[in-house]
C-alpha cells in the first residue's frame, strides 16, 4: 500500500504540466561593427539568441530594450519613413527604399500538435513615423513557408543611463500559428542596420573614442509568460 502511494505520487509528479518544470527563457546578444573603426560610418549587426523554455521552445518575447554605447548614433541622410500599417498591408515593397535602414533574418519555432514547426523569416528594418518627436523604427518579418504571413515589430528610441547612450525599446506582437496552439517564438534574430562607409545611406556612426573594456551593449527582455531576462556584452575597442 505504501508502494502504491509512492508510485501514485511519482506518477502525479510526472504528469504535471511541463510548464511547471520548464527552463526559464534566457537570451544572449552578439553585436559586431563593420568596419570596426573609431568614427567610421559602419554597419551594426546584432544577433540575439533565445534559449530555454517549455519543451525547449523559448517563451515568445514581447518587449526588448536594447542599449547601445554612449556616443553611438545612426546617420539617416534622407528622412523618408514608412508606417506600420503600410508595412502590414503592402510589405517591404510598399515602403520607399530610402526609408530602409537594414535587414536580416530570424528563426521562429512554434509547437503544434506533437511537432515543433520552424520557419525562417526575412527581416527588413525601416524608419517609422516619428512618435512624440522621437524617431521610431519598424522591423518587418516576412515568412513564406510553412506559413505565409508577416509581422511588424515596432521600436522607439529611448535614453539609457551611462555607460550606455541611446537605446531602442521594441515591441513584438504575438505571432499566431494555428488557432488553439501556442504562439510562435523567435529563437534567433540577426539584424544589420546601416551600411559600411555609407554617406548617402543610413549608417551607424561609431564613437570617436572607446571606453576602457570596449563598447558596452545590453538588453532586457520581457516574455509572454511574464518572465524577464537581461544580458550584456562588450565589443572590443578597435585596435
Amino acid at each position: 500500500m505504501r508502494l502504491s502511494t509512492v508510485t501514485l505520487a511519482l506518477l502525479t509528479l510526472t504528469a504535471l504540466p511541463s510548464a511547471a518544470l520548464a527552463d526559464p527563457t534566457t537570451a544572449t546578444i552578439v553585436p559586431s561593427l563593420s568596419p570596426d573603426r573609431l568614427g567610421a560610418h559602419a554597419a551594426l549587426t546584432l544577433t540575439i539568441h533565445y534559449s530555454g523554455g517549455e519543451l525547449g521552445v523559448p517563451a515568445p518575447v514581447r518587449r526588448s530594450v536594447l542599449r547601445f554605447p554612449a556616443g553611438m548614433s545612426i546617420s539617416v541622410p534622407t528622412l523618408h519613413s514608412c508606417s506600420t500599417r503600410r508595412l502590414r498591408t503592402d510589405g517591404a515593397g510598399g515602403c520607399p527604399a530610402q526609408a530602409r535602414l537594414g535587414g536580416g533574418h530570424a528563426l521562429l519555432e512554434g509547437r503544434a500538435g506533437s511537432q515543433i514547426i520552424t520557419e525562417t523569416i526575412a527581416l527588413s528594418a525601416f524608419l517609422g513615423s516619428p512618435h512624440n518627436l522621437q524617431p521610431a523604427f519598424e522591423v518587418l518579418g516576412q515568412g513564406y513557408t510553412p506559413y505565409d504571413q508577416r509581422t511588424v515589430l515596432t521600436g522607439a528610441v529611448t535614453q539609457s543611463d551611462p555607460p550606455y547612450g541611446e537605446g531602442i525599446t521594441m515591441t513584438t506582437p504575438a505571432i499566431h500559428t494555428v488557432p488553439l496552439e501556442p504562439d510562435a517564438s523567435i529563437v534567433t534574430l540577426s539584424l544589420t542596420v546601416g551600411r559600411r562607409h555609407a554617406r548617402t545611406a543610413p549608417a551607424i556612426v561609431v564613437p570617436r573614442s572607446c571606453p576602457a573594456g570596449g563598447f558596452p551593449f545590453a538588453a532586457e527582455f520581457t516574455y509572454a509568460d511574464g518572465s524577464h531576462s537581461a544580458t550584456s556584452t562588450t565589443v572590443r575597442c578597435p585596435s
Binding site: L3, S4, V6, T7, L8, L10, L11, T12, T14, A15, P17, A112, G113, S114, Q115, Y144, T145, P146, Y147, D148, Q149, V178, P179, L180, E181
Partner: protein, 270 residues
C-alpha cells in the same frame, strides 16, 4: 500479483517511460465541436467552435474545443466513436495538397508526411484511473490528409501521449454523408486505449482540434523554377443561414451511451 504490477509499472513507467502500445489504425478521438452543452444519461459535453478567419467563402481554420464530464462525478466513459457534421456550404479545396499514409505515420511518425498533407492540429487532456486515483495526461493530435477511400475524403490523426503512459495511435476519420442542413460529415472510430497495467483505459477530459490550412505555403519547382504554392484547404460557406452555422456532433461511449450536440457558430459580423 498486485505488488508485481505496481513495481513493474513504477519501474517502467515512472522512471523509464517505456510502455509503448502498438500502433493501431483506427479513428480520431476528437471531433468537431459546437457551442452547446448536451448531456446523455451519464456523460455531458461542453462544446465551442469558431472559424478563423471568421469570414464567408475564404480559406479558414475550423477550431473546436470540448470538455467532457461524467454525471456521477467520476471520469467519463472512454469515447468509442465520434461523428461530426460541418455547416452546409463548407468545402475542402485540395489543390496542391498531398497525402500521407497510416503506414508512414505508424513506422516513422509525422515527420514522414509531406508538409502539404498537413490538415490540422489538436490535443487535450486524457484521464485514467488507478487504485482509485485519477491520473491526467496531455495528448497531442496531428492531422493529415489521407488518400481518398472509394472516392471519399479521409483524414489521419496521429495521437500521441508520452507521460506517464506512452501512447501512439494512428486513427482514420472517414467522410460520411451528412444530413441537411449539414455539409461535410466525418466518422471516427476510437479503440479502447490501454494506459498502464492495472489502470483503466483512457478517457478524454478535454480535447481541441483545428482543421484547415489558410496561410500554409510551400515551395515547388515548376518548369525548373521554384515557386511558392499556397494551399486553400477548408473553405468557409459563402452564405450564413439565419441564426448561424449549424453543427452537429455525436459521441459514442464505451458504456453504451451516446451524446449528441447541436449548436450554432454565429455568422460573421461583416
Amino acid at each position: 500479483m498486485r505488488f508485481y504490477h505496481l513495481s513493474a509499472w513504477m519501474h517502467s513507467t515512472v522512471f523509464y517511460h517505456t510502455i509503448t502500445h502498438h500502433l493501431v489504425t483506427r479513428t480520431l478521438i476528437g471531433g468537431l465541436l459546437a457551442t452547446a452543452t448536451v448531456a446523455s444519461s451519464t456523460q455531458s459535453i461542453a462544446l465551442h467552435a469558431r472559424f478563423t478567419p471568421d469570414r464567408l467563402g475564404v480559406p479558414t481554420n475550423l477550431s473546436a474545443t470540448g470538455q467532457l464530464a461524467s454525471a456521477d462525478g467520476g471520469i467519463p466513459s472512454p469515447v468509442t466513436k465520434v461523428a461530426f457534421y460541418t455547416p452546409a456550404g463548407a468545402r475542402i479545396d485540395l489543390r496542391g495538397a498531398g497525402t500521407c499514409t497510416a503506414v508512414k505515420l505508424e513506422r516513422v511518425g509525422p515527420s514522414a508526411c509531406p508538409a502539404n498533407s498537413r490538415a490540422g492540429f489538436g490535443g487535450g487532456v486524457g484521464l485514467f484511473q488507478l487504485a482509485g486515483e485519477t491520473i491526467r495526461e496531455q495528448f497531442t493530435v496531428d492531422l493529415f490528409l489521407a488518400p481518398r477511400e472509394a472516392g471519399h475524403l479521409a483524414l489521419l490523426a496521429y495521437v500521441r501521449a508520452t507521460n506517464p503512459a506512452s501512447i501512439e495511435l494512428v486513427l482514420t476519420a472517414r467522410e460520411i454523408k451528412a444530413p441537411k442542413p449539414y455539409g461535410l460529415g466525418f466518422s471516427v472510430e476510437v479503440p479502447l486505449i490501454p494506459t498502464i497495467p492495472g489502470a483503466s483505459d483512457a478517457s478524454v477530459e478535454s480535447a481541441f482540434i483545428t482543421l484547415g490550412s489558410p496561410n500554409v505555403a510551400y515551395y515547388e519547382t515548376v518548369h525548373g523554377k521554384r515557386a511558392l504554392q499556397r494551399l486553400r484547404g477548408l473553405i468557409s460557406p459563402k452564405t450564413c443561414p439565419p441564426g448561424g452555422f449549424p453543427f452537429q456532433s455525436a459521441f459514442d461511449f464505451a458504456d453504451g451511451t451516446t451524446t449528441t450536440a447541436n449548436a450554432l457558430i454565429p455568422c460573421p459580423r461583416s
